[in-house]
């Protein structure tokens, strides 16, 4: 019962805020709405027992990436009257068509799925599911190669950013 209520709240929140991201005229409003949407997603993660994912969602997206977004938007300080009214172009029409198509494909797939026997019942899940320990364990055993490669990726990102942003050679 309580779970259903929370799910409805979070799901509607995620949908509503995502729509607000698109509708909002001011980019800062869009960014903050996106943060709210991340919070709702994190709530859904918690309900799926993926607490680690939830915390990382907030930590990385809401706490780091979107802050930089807002920082840059504030630095640019776009005023309301500088924002052009959106026009519906042919690209947007195609995008809407493609988005609708993808939505229906996924929705139908999930609908076809929901009766299948392959779902694992909630109570067969281990106690530690979704917590830090098993995820950390997986990261340094099964997924150690991509995990270590991500370190190189970050290094390349930093070096690349410095190369591009440097004032003088």
């Amino acid at each position: 019962m309580a779970e259903t209520i929370f799910f409805i709240v979070f799901a509607l929140g995620a949908l509503g805020f995502s729509a607000a991201v698109l509708i909002a005229k001011n980019p800062i409003n869009s960014a903050v709405m996106l943060v709210c949407s991340f919070f709702c997603l994190a709530g859904i993660y918690v309900m799926l027992s993926a607490t680690f994912m939830a915390v990382i969602q907030i930590l990385v997206y809401a706490g780091a990436i979107m802050v930089l977004f807002i920082f840059v938007l504030m630095l640019l300080n776009i005023r309301d009257d500088e924002i052009e009214a959106p026009r519906l172009s042919i690209h947007q029409g195609i995008a809407i068509l493609a988005g609708t198509g993808i939505f229906f494909t996924i929705a139908l797939s999930i609908a076809a799925w929901s009766g299948s026997s392959s779902r694992v019942a909630h109570d067969t899940m281990s106690d530690t599911f979704g917590t830090v320990e098993p995820i950390g364990d997986q990261l340094i055993t099964s997924y150690v190669l991509p995990f270590e490669m991500a370190a190189i990726l970050l290094l390349v990102g930093i070096v690349g950013a410095v190369v591009v942003a440097k004032k003088r050679f």
């Binding site: 943060v35 607490t51 680690f52 915390v55 907030i58 807002i70």
Partner: protein, 384 residues
């Protein structure tokens, strides 16, 4: 189900309204007003009187009536919103600032799990023989508690940033920009400096961290964070002070340059709420540092059944469980207030940094030091 919810609500009320908020407002106001006046060799607030209450009418009460008067004044002031400001955000922002400051308290443990029966002390840990009520002295005993704190403290940037942006004023905008730049910069060294402690304790759960700090090195030295990670303690303290935008890191509200920074254009209770959120965040810094580095609720040598000197099965001085709990919560409060006091001493004795100094300190001193600390800790942990 219902009792669970009621219990959680009760705990929230207890932690927020009886601990964080009172200490936040009372202590910080006292510290900001009375302690600063002592440091600066002046008298400080002493005129307001509680003349309604008989018997107290003539006493200055170390300035406490002042802060009650402040509250009254704030409530009755006009709420001014500048022309061209984004009214919606201007109204929401104080809540956005206060929200993370309060929500962070959810994972702070005030005591270990409550043992329902006999307690045996083994290897510096309380073992509950007849089971325990988990999660009794904290609102949520999260597995990733420390990550949660970082996540929420990352979100707390929004309050200041949006406040600066929504005011439609130049000083406010500069304040907001400064605050977000500063908080992003210091988050890095903040998280990295604690990584060493995480390696040592092998957990992100704050209560488990505190439990492990009950260990005695060589049978006499408590394994507090400050003992095993002294460098991290200072980096973390500095980074946290920068995170809460307190002097000497109060660039975002440097009154000599940009009036009051991002909350220049806020008045009445909205101003009060933003101020209060900063104070509560300051108290939280105290609580978090006490938890990670000062042994949290641990009292040295005190375990579930009394004082033990060394790794002994029986207590040298037995105490009833309620007394132990009281001592421990008292110790935690004391540590929190001590760190708070330390922050005020720093705030009122150090001059404000310049902007470039703040950035240099964060990126060129704190970050390399915390990385070095992490590497050395990792080696030591791997060897031992």
């Amino acid at each position: 189900m219902l009792t669970d919810i009621l219990l959680i609500l009760l705990k929230i009320v207890a932690v927020v309204l009886l601990f964080a908020m009172p200490i936040g407002s009372l202590m910080t106001l006292l510290g900001d007003r009375k302690q600063s006046s002592m440091i600066q060799n002046r008298v400080g607030p002493n005129r307001a009187r509680l003349s309604i209450i008989p018997g107290l009418g003539r006493l200055p009460l170390v300035g406490i009536p002042h802060f009650l008067a402040d509250g009254l004044k704030m409530i009755f002031k006009e709420d001014a919103i500048p022309d061209g400001a984004d009214r919606t955000w201007h109204n929401i922002v104080p809540a956005m600032a206060l929200f993370p400051a309060i929500v962070m308290w959810a994972v702070i443990p005030f005591h270990d799990h409550y043992c329902t029966g006999e307690i045996v002390v083994q290897n510096y840990r309380d073992i509950c023989v007849e089971g325990q009520t988990r999660n009794f002295f904290s609102i949520a005993n999260l597995d990733a508690g420390l990550l949660y704190v970082f996540a929420i403290s990352g979100v707390s940037v929004y309050g200041a940033a949006i406040a600066g942006w929504a005011s439609n004023a130049k000083y406010s905008l500069i304040g907001g920009l400064r605050s977000s730049a500063q908080m992003i910069s210091y988050e890095v060294s903040m998280a990295l400096s604690v990584a060493g402690a995480i390696l040592i304790y092998g957990t992100l759960n704050l209560n488990e961290m505190v439990v492990q700090q009950g260990h005695l090195i060589g049978g006499w030295l408590p394994m507090w964070g400050i003992v095993v990670q002294p460098l991290a303690f200072f980096i973390f303290l500095g980074a946290m002070m920068a995170e809460t935008k307190r002097a000497p890191f109060d660039m975002p509200e440097g009154e000599s340059e940009i009036v009051a920074g991002y909350f220049t254009e806020f008045s009445s209770m909205k101003f009060a709420v933003i101020q209060l959120s900063e104070y509560v965040a300051t108290v939280f810094v105290g609580a978090l540092i006490a938890t990670i580095f000062l042994g949290g609720w641990q009292v040295p040598y005190l375990y579930g059944d009394g004082f033990h000197f060394g790794n002994t099965p029986t207590a040298a001085l037995e105490l009833p469980y309620w007394a132990v709990i009281a001592l421990r919560i008292g110790a935690f409060s004391f540590k929190t207030i001590f760190i708070l006091w330390l922050q005020f001493m720093l705030r009122w004795t150090l001059p404000r940094f310049r902007y470039d100094q703040v950035m240099n300190l964060g990126w060129k001193i704190f970050l390399p030091l915390s990385l070095a600390n992490l590497v050395i800790t990792a080696f030591v942990v791997a060897i031992l």
